[in-house]
Structures are given as C-alpha cells and as structure tokens.
C-alpha cells in the first residue's frame, strides 16, 4: 500500500524531467493544495520543465479510485473532491447554497442544455419573460457567464455555463449533462422557429419580479 512509486520507463525527453512517480506526487500536491480545479496548462507551468502532467494525472486518478477522495475532471481542469457517498460525514462542511427559484433552476438547465443561449431563447422555451434577477443570480453564483454575441440582428448576448457549474454538479464536461443525447435525438434541443405564430411573450413579469421588477420587453435584451 505505501510507497509504491510507479517507475515508468523514463520517456525520452530533451529535458531532465523528474521521474513519473515524482511527477505524480507533484500533481497530487498541487491539486490537494487547491480548492478550485487546476488546469492542465497551469500544472504544466508549475511543474518542472518537461513534465507530463497528463500522464501523471492518469496514474493519480487510478491511485485514488475507490478512496475517500477522488480525482475528478472538470472541463479542462482537474480537482480533488471527496467521494460523494461520504457526504453524510460532512455536515460540518456543508455550505448552504442559496435556494434557487424554480425560474432560476429552469433557466440554468435551459442554458446548460442549449448553450450558447440567448435570453430570448430562454423566454421562448419557458414561455415567460426572464427577469433580470434570475440571470443576475446565476451570474453571481458563477454558474453561467456571457458567451459570444449571437451574430443576428441586435447581436444579443448569449449565456454559457462555467467551469464552476461543472464543478458544482460533478460534471466532467457540458456534454455529460444527464440525458443530453436523448434530448438531442428527440430534437428537443433544436431551435425550431415557427415564431410569430404562437403568442409571443407576455408582458407580465415572471414570479421573480420582486427581485428586479424589470419591465420585460425585447429592447431590454440588448442593452447589456
């Protein structure tokens, strides 16, 4: 169990990179020290020249399989996280996440599954206007961020989910969203415009009006 340094045949390298076992230790230390995921790029930057953190990560991942702490991938970064089955031990560490409104949760899901996604698209899917407070809350939690502007008239901003979102929900990748494939196969993620046919968006504010009381209206979509 203890001290079984994996001695890989030293790869040919121009640089005097440390042995792989040592690199694994380094990756381990760096990831342990960080609460946030660390990108491969940053690992490379911090480790001695010629190191191969990708390989070290693979070995480390294996080493931590089934342990109380796991190595998880978050986008193009990596992090150590406690095993979810031990969550019950952690009452003390549990952070009370702000209770999200139904509107916020649905908006988040729509952004995650449809990203990049404009506000107008969110409203079209939900059938109600999205209050500014909802988007703001998700932005503030750093679960969504601005994507590229859509190259359509008005150049509306789009929203995409963040690494923090992936990290929070234990997703390696936005492609790993539950049921994504099925939804796509069912055509439910296509934008199928038959717009203008079905009554557009209501004028009324949605249930979150208390927060922002933003008068809904298309113009508002474009002034960020």
């Amino acid at each position: 169990m203890a001290e079984s340094k994996v001695q890989k045949p030293q790869e040919e390298s121009l640089f005097e990179a440390p042995p792989m076992g040592e690199q694994e230790r380094m990756v381990e230390a760096i990831l342990f020290a960080s609460a946030d995921p660390v990108s491969l790029r940053e690992l490379e930057d911090r480790m001695p020249h010629g190191s191969d953190p990708a390989e070290a990560l693979q070995q480390l991942k294996k080493r931590y399989e089934g342990r109380g702490v796991r190595l998880v991938r978050v986008g193009d970064a990596w992090a150590m996280r406690t095993a979810p089955d031990l969550g019950f031990l952690m009452q003390k560490e549990t952070v009370e996440t702000r209770k999200l409104s139904r509107a916020a949760i649905e908006t988040l899901a729509i952004i995650a599954y449809h990203q990049p996604c404009t506000r107008a698209e969110i409203e079209e899917i939900r059938g109600v206007s999205v209050s500014r407070g909802t988007i703001d809350q998700l932005l503030e939690m750093e679960w969504i961020r601005f994507g590229r502007r859509r190259m359509t008239p008005g150049r509306p901003v789009t929203y995409v989910v963040t690494q923090e979102f992936l990290d929070h929900f234990g997703l390696e990748n936005a492609r790993d969203l539950p049921g994504l494939k099925e939804l796509r196969a069912a055509g439910l993620l296509d934008s199928r415009p038959l717009s203008g046919q079905i009554p557009g968006l209501p004028e009324g504010d949605d249930e979150e009006a208390g927060e922002g009381d933003v008068p809904a209206g298309q113009s508002e979509l474009f002034n960020e």
Binding site: A33, A35, R81, M90, T97, A112, I125, R126, L194, P202
Partner: protein
C-alpha cells in the same frame, strides 16, 4: 363547449373541479405555456400524442371559468386564449387553399413541440439538481494552500533610452533659453508702457523704429517682436487719441508723434 368536454371523456364535474383548482392556483403558473402544460397532463398521454384541439378547449374553458368568477387574468393568458380559439377554428374547419402560412396542423404540432420541450427542460433541471452537488454531497479541499505569486519585475532599458537620457541632461543648459525665450518677445504691454513714457518727450515726428528699446534693434528676432509690439502699441495710443501716426507711402517708415492736446 360543455358538450365538447363530455365527448372528451371528462365528466362535467371533474372538469369544473379541475378548472377551479387551476384558477385558485393561477398565480402559481408561470404563464400560459405552463398552464397549458399542466392542462395537458389531464390527457394522460405522451406529450407527443397530445390532442392539441382538446388542450385548446380545456384552456378556453379555463379562461371562461375565470371570467365567470370575475377573476382578472393577465393579458398574456387572454392573448393565448385568442390564439387558441383561432387555432381551434383552424383545426376544425377545412383548410382554406387561399390561405398562406402554416396550417392548423403545423401550428398544433409546434405548440405540442413547445410543451414537450418545456417539459423536457423541467425534467432536465430536476435531474441536474438531483446530482451530487459540491458543498452538499462532495467537498473541495477545506484547507487550500495559497499559491504565492512571486512577481519578479525585470527592468529594461535600451541604449537609445540611455543616450537620450544623457543627451537631455547635458543639453538642459542649451534648452534653458527656451524658458528665457520670452526675452526675445516684447509684449504689447511692454511696448505700450515704454512708448507712453517716451512719447511725452517727443513732440516731433519720429520713426517707430526709434522707439525700439536698446538691444532690440540688431537681433532680427528681437527686432521683429519689438517692432510688432511697438506698432500695436502705437495703434492703441492713436485710438486713445494720444498720438498721431503717419506713413508717407507704402513700406515707408511709420512715424508717430504726440498729439497736441489741451493738456500740454
């Protein structure tokens, strides 16, 4: 409308109770689409096989009921009602060949798609929230170590910087005249003051040039400035009626003299 309900396997009573329950809850709906989705559940079929016609009727019945109860519905519910009434007529009447745009079936299909999509997103949201979450089910490192950022500043300079710096320093004295450059400039005020003092003595015509202060006649720069200032001063004094100016011909010397005044 009531008879439609009966044909649709929904008893009168059930429909009314259902509608009333919905109405009580109307604030809980997130708009017409949400309400339609809820209504569609009473059909107890796959959303893909939902009867949009039946749904439209349910919705219209709901709005009707709300009106009876003098319940104020938000405008968007009424807009949707109008549209569904239109859709219903489209679905019931044979298609008008003259009419362009989507057919009743197409509109119905799209509405069904919208409902299915909204439901799918709700399911997805539920599945997302049911996942293990950070800070609840799994945890990050509780004692992160700060990565100390060592900022090393490297200063650079080029040879040109060096030489320019030196040149600047060594020629500061040469530049000094720049600040004293004003010495080569005579202001009109200076000329005016000088002329006022001198004019008292000069009752005779004298050229403007003779009024230039000593040391200002030879250096062309200074002479130009002094001449211009004196000329402007002369004009000013002439305007005040204190002197007279004359010039024999173009480019001839300008002459001035004190104007003989009552004061003497």
């Amino acid at each position: 409308m009531t008879d439609q309900f009966e044909t649709d396997n929904v008893t009168d009573l059930q429909a009314r109770l259902g509608a009333e329950a919905l109405i009580v809850d109307v604030d809980g709906f997130e708009g017409p689409l949400d309400l339609l989705l809820t209504l569609s559940r009473t059909q107890k079929v796959d959303l893909r096989r939902i009867s949009v016609l039946q749904l439209a009727q349910q919705y219209l019945a709901f709005v009707e009921q709300a009106k009876k109860l003098r319940l104020e519905l938000a405008a968007d519910y009424l807009v949707m009602a109008a549209w569904l009434a239109f859709l219903k007529s489209r679905l019931l009447l044979p298609p008008d060949p003259e009419d362009e745009g989507p057919s009743g079936e197409e509109l119905a299909a799209h509405l069904a798609f919208q409902l299915e999509r909204l439901q799918a997103m709700r399911d997805a949201a539920a599945r997302l929230m049911a996942r293990d979450q950070k800070g609840r089910d799994f945890f990050p490192r509780g004692l992160p170590e700060d990565v100390s950022r060592i900022r090393r500043v490297r200063y650079t300079a080029t040879l040109l910087d060096l030489m320019q710096a030196y040149a600047r320093l060594r020629t500061r004295d040469e530049f000094r005249p720049f600040t004293m450059d004003r010495d080569a400039v005579m202001t009109m005020e200076q000329a005016l003051e000088r002329m006022r003092r001198l004019i008292g003595y000069a009752g005779e015509w004298a050229t403007l040039e003779s009024y230039l202060p000593e040391g200002w006649e030879s250096d062309p720069l200074r002479r130009r400035s002094a001449t211009a200032a004196s000329f402007a001063a002369a004009l000013e004094l002439a305007k005040l009626g204190q002197i007279e100016i004359r010039q024999g011909e173009i480019f001839a010397p300008i002459e001035i003299r004190r104007k003989a005044g009552p004061d003497g």
